[in-house]
């Protein structure tokens, strides 16, 4: 099965984003910055000004910490990049949209359908998930160069704000579109129908866990 690849700018027009459908395969071109709990806390909770001109430079926020090192001469060695699970950043994402103007959130595993409806849609943002989630070497190939590294001393290498220039970087999959539809929710619903049969012949544990549920449409993310 061959999939069409869509090239998307990291400073996209509203029309570019509106054309994307759930499950589309996307490659990115342009500047991308990493930002996760360290960056969010510093910019949102501590009010430290973002050291970039956003969203003019980039509207693409990658939930990522690269496998990278800074050489003694100040240059960077970035081998592989892979996303980290995004649902943990729910509490900051609305504020981040407000101060960064981000339109593309790239991460692992998506966020909750409620986050898409209440935080992404009002900001005209979509969500791209990485693939696998281990295609770090392929994504590494899509990095033309490392443009900068902010807050390295304050946050450490993993949490720092890496600024990278992407060229045909991918693959990513559209996991939430401009209307806030959720790819993972759609897939979960398809799978849920068959679960009762798979569980046939099993038995609930004799010792329960406090607050335990047997609702198999549940998810572990909040």
């Amino acid at each position: 099965m061959t999939h069409k690849i869509i090239r998307l700018s990291t400073t996209p027009s509203p029309e570019d984003l509106a054309a994307l459908k759930l499950g589309d395969i996307v490659h990115l071109d342009g500047v991308i910055y990493t930002g996760r709990e360290g960056v969010y806390k510093r910019a949102i909770e501590e009010g430290v000004p973002i050291p970039m001109d956003l969203p003019a430079e980039s509207a693409a926020n990658f939930h990522c910490a690269p496998a990278a090192a800074q050489r003694d001469d100040g240059s960077f060695d970035m081998g592989a990049v892979t996303a980290t699970a995004s649902f943990r950043f729910s509490r900051w994402i609305a504020d981040w949209f407000r101060i960064s103007g981000a339109r593309i959130i790239i991460g692992k595993g998506g966020m909750s359908p409620e986050d898409y409806r209440t935080k992404f849609v009002p900001n005209g943002a979509i969500y791209l998930t990485t693939v696998g989630y281990g295609t770090g070497a392929l994504l590494g190939r899509g990095i033309k160069n490392v443009k900068g590294l902010h807050w390295r001393k304050e946050l450490g290498l993993a949490q720092a704000m890496w600024v990278i220039e992407a060229e045909n970087m991918g693959p990513f999959i559209v996991a939430s579109d401009i209307e806030g539809n959720c790819l993972f929710e759609r897939e979960n619903a398809k799978i849920a129908g068959g679960l009762a049969k798979v569980y046939e012949g099993t038995r609930p544990a004799v010792l329960k866990r406090y607050g335990e549920t047997d609702d198999r449409t549940d998810e572990v993310i909040g």
Binding site: A65, P66, A68, A85, G134, L138, E187, T202, R203
Partner: protein, 322 residues
């Protein structure tokens, strides 16, 4: 006497290999899984992964940006003598971990749990984990050390539960499915993976056994107890019949293989742990001999009859028969 410099330089090579080269047994297993996957998006993901392993090897870059938490499994022949002793050995492994973190490069993942202090080298309090085992050997053949590094990924996919004898196999299956489905949704467990199950022991032993089952046994390996081996096969099939594939998309690839390890437990209990070794099953191993030979491999060969022994004594004849 085994050279400490040789141990350290070999350890650095192992760190590099583990991060970059997918072990052949897992690659074969994933290719077999991909060949029967008919879910559209799941298939796409598996093909992308196979391309990714190739790209990593060609470019000599880490296969995944999250390079996991490096840890060491050390096994010594019964006559192993290490230059500088066990303290020097631990120093060498810690130094190699730090050096390789900047050299490969790996992601400096390890931080203090409360203060989030990051030394940028994957070394800190109780990190990396270094676990030891020993192996009987015939006289004159035991002066060697096996170094295995595993860069285990995954904040998700692992769980523990205290079950009881009355839960039976049906209860074990239930908890297995619960773990796979819970962490399989959205692909949090980075499946399809090698699933390791620990049964029995005490809580900590149960976790250790399950983790080792996932990380130290190769695809296709079966437990020597034929009834456990049968369960492993059954659980592999059960996991792949959930209807879920890579990233939690519709499909049938959750489990590349399932390994079960057991330990004697309290008569009233039946502890169970489940572990998923992610799509980047990073493990690399080498035997360093006193005469300076280094033999690289990807099979840690950790679970030997001696490691699984259930009697008080280990008769010398059993070693001779190995």
């Amino acid at each position: 006497m085994i050279s400490i410099d040789l141990i350290e330089s070999t350890a650095e090579v192992l760190m590099d290999k583990a991060a970059i080269e997918i072990p052949q047994d897992y690659l074969d297993g994933l290719e077999a899984t991909a060949s029967v996957e008919d879910g559209d998006l799941s298939s796409f993901v598996l093909q992308a992964m196979l391309e990714n392993y190739k790209a990593a090897k060609e470019d000599r870059r880490a296969m995944c940006g999250d390079t996991g938490c490096p840890r060491w499994y050390v096994k010594m022949g019964n006559e192993a003598q290490i230059e500088g002793g066990p303290v020097a050995l631990e120093e060498a492994l810690r130094r190699a971990t730090a050096t390789a973190t900047n050299g490969v490069p790996l992601r400096p993942n390890r931080v203090h749990p409360l203060w989030r202090t990051d030394h940028d080298n994957n070394v800190g309090i109780n990190a990396p984990e270094i676990e030891y085992g020993f192996e009987p050997s015939a006289p004159g053949q035991g002066d060697w050390i096996d170094l295995t590094t595993v860069h285990k990924g995954g904040l998700f996919g692992t769980d523990y539960r205290m079950l009881f004898p009355s839960d039976g196999i049906e209860g074990i299956k239930r908890f297995y499915l619960d773990s796979l489905v819970a962490f399989g949704k959205r692909g949090l467990a980075c499946q399809p993976a090698i699933i390791g199950i620990g049964l029995g022991g005490s809580k900590d032993t149960c976790m250790v056994l399950g983790k080792r089952a996932a990380c130290l046994r190769t695809v296709g390996d079966r437990n020597p107890d034929p009834r456990i081996a049968e369960l492993e096969m059954e659980f592999k099939e059960l996991g792949n019949s959930i209807g879920m594939g890579a990233m939690g998309f519709v499909g049938k690839s959750m489990v590349v293989d399932c390994h079960i390890e057991v330990g004697y437990c309290h008569t009233g209990g039946m502890q169970m742990s489940v572990h998923a070794f992610c799509l980047s099953s990073r493990r690399a191993c080498a035997r360093v001999h006193a005469d300076g030979r280094v033999e690289h491999r990807t099979d840690p060969q950790w679970f030997t009859p001696f490691q699984r022994r259930e009697t008080v004594e280990w008769p010398a004849t059993a070693t001779a028969a190995q």
